[in-house]
Amino acid sequence: SGELYCSLPNPRNVHFESINMKNVLHWSAPEGTGDGVLYKVKYAVYGVGKWIRKPECGNINRTWCDLSSETSDYEEQYYASVKAFLNGACSDWMETTRFNPLTDTKIAPPMVSVSSTDRSISIILTTPEKWKRSPEEESVSLLQVYPGLRYNVSVLNKKTKKRWLFSISNNTLVVPWLEPGTAYCVSAQIRVTTPRLDSGFSK
């Protein structure tokens, strides 16, 4: 069918939100349109000549669309675009900036497991996995994606408030010479130096 007359205000702030390469397109509704607006989504691999519609995000009324599957090859870069429809009118296609899954994702903190003796703590860190389509799919640790990945580990003596900070590259750490009968708080962060990506500290 021919293009409708596009007088509707445009969707705003069209952008990717990505955590561990789970890449979700988000946008805000056009200004002043209220309820009833529907949206269509398309995406393109940068450097490849065609836009591809995302059927599951055709005529939707929500303002997000999961494009993780379509953008899972992190050796490629992508654009995505959204168009709004209301009462027979439509908006222009509104595009994201160029999205690079490798550098534009956020990394979740590592999982921290702790065991202790009366005078030491043993810490084991587990790096999050890259998003995957289904539980059956083979897991890819972000350690494989970012070979230069390191960890910062914080150990806080809750009584004296004294804190130690360790920067390690392997995922295990033993902290000796601790005070018996004292509570310690252990927290860890992932650091990737290039591209520059830091997770938050684990709870």
């Binding site: 050796e75 870069q77 654009y79 070979p147 591209p195 520059r196």
Partner: protein
Amino acid sequence: GACRVSMSLAEIRAGFTAIKADIQSRDPIRTLSILSHPHSLHKVKSSDRCCIAHQLFTFYVDKVFKHCRTEDSFVNRKISSIANSFLSTRRKLGQCREQNNCTCGEESTEKFKQILANYEGLNVTSAAMKSLGELDILLDWMEKSR
């Protein structure tokens, strides 16, 4: 040794990240890439990487940076600092190539010719700005293949 250029790559990456959105917004052509299509750098054989990396850095130094002027002095300063980092890195890669007698295989030479063809296919300013906007493609490949 001379092949270890990680410090320079981190500098280049930091400089590029600061201007990436600006530079990429000046490139309206979505359907063509200089570096990544039709051939992906990630398919370059490991034995050819040293040679291709040196050729790519030479390509940027000789063909790209000189055509990347903008009206924004902050962006221009970042571009010239990136260009300077490229000059020193290219020198190291050149030494690496000599010391290790790196040669470019036929397949990789073909890839590099394709990159030049992609570049020549656009007017020089568009080609240079697009190439600059693809620095993260080059950096991702170099860091991954370290």
